[in-house]
Symmetry: C2
Subunit: 252 residues, 2 copies
Amino acid sequence: MLFMHVLITNDDGISAPGITALGQALRKIGKVSVVAPDREQSATGHAITIHRPLRTRRVVIDGIDQALAVDGTPADCVKLAILAELIAKPDIVISGINRGANLGTDLLYSGTVSAAIEAAMLGLPAIAISLADFRTIDYEGAAEFACHLASIWSTHNLPPDTLLNVNWPKNPPSKVLVTTLGSRRYTNHFDKRQDPNGRDYYWMCNSVETDTTPHTDVWAIDQGFASVTPIHFDLTNYRLVSQVSTWPISLP
Amino acid sequence: MLFMHVLITNDDGISAPGITALGQALRKIGKVSVVAPDREQSATGHAITIHRPLRTRRVVIDGIDQALAVDGTPADCVKLAILAELIAKPDIVISGINRGANLGTDLLYSGTVSAAIEAAMLGLPAIAISLADFRTIDYEGAAEFACHLASIWSTHNLPPDTLLNVNWPKNPPSKVLVTTLGSRRYTNHFDKRQDPNGRDYYWMCNSVETDTTPHTDVWAIDQGFASVTPIHFDLTNYRLVSQVSTWPISLP
């Protein structure tokens, strides 16, 4: 029987139910440590804390060997856990289970995914996992799947810094698809209001345009499948490198 | 003579000298609007503000037609400026001039670059521009180069959401190179200290391992050249999609 050390983090905060669910599933295959933000950190993207120090606080979570709350972002938690050696080096880092989808261009804003990217940047295998439907509170299926992925990981010859982004559908899926990221364009608008003193303020409002291109993550979830997308963090647009090289780019 | 409407933003805050320098250079080719954070927002990554509303405040900056400070992140500023129509639709968005490099994997943490990515996601041409050396305070060369790039942009047939990341070297460069992102690995560590009450806290400390692979942005700056890297925001690792598809990925 495989025995691993798994680090769990998230962006919903250390008391979120996704952590407990992951812990319960993962303790079957190993030791589980949690290092997670002390409060909700949704939409923090890949923010890190450089202008103030970080503090940790030990917390007790049923079934978890060791749990620390950090007053920072999800990416801070992973950096601090690994580099300050708050815990022994994990075999894999799992971020989630996030309540709400992390699909397509969501990934750029997602604290859940950024924590997993941070782990991959530190050379560790990483999984980000999210419930694609806000109304679902059944974390168990997603947690079991994360456990399955973690346990088959070591028998497959993947680069050490591989990162998989998982979205779990509302109802138990008939299939798990390996997908590419779809474009999930937020047609944001802002709701302009006035406070009692007559000053304007703006609330960000979202509506989402779903991409129906087959084999994207957005499409897979729309079809009721689970979605697994391999993620990288090289933002070079190679296709444009040669094109831009032909510009009169130097100063005249 | 070209006449454009340019939106300037940054992550150093609206009173940073990089904004004034860009404004002075760009007013030669068009109307300049500034919508920028009301305070420093470095290392905020692509964070956006979803749990509270945003407020704006009109400020006066010499030579700028219209300037608004926002109590949010760089990405918030771009979203709000465009979607709440605080300003007329710009022809191009320029984020910077950041004091300090944004090279290689820095881009994931960078508020400067995230603002430009947000503009590209909204379908606008965008430039992120940074002084690669903290000690340099000569913003003028970088500002002139941003102005040059903006003015040749429209005559080149680029996708509407193209984003260029510029780093400007310490001394006036002999050449501008089109580069790929290098790996600039932060060998972070944490300095553990105790407060007067005996409680631990952790400061993040950085040292950087420079990548010497030719034609990367890190290498170009190291050689004293200016660097221009085309950026995309598709995080799919296409190379691994077929590989992971061969796993026994479905639940047993």
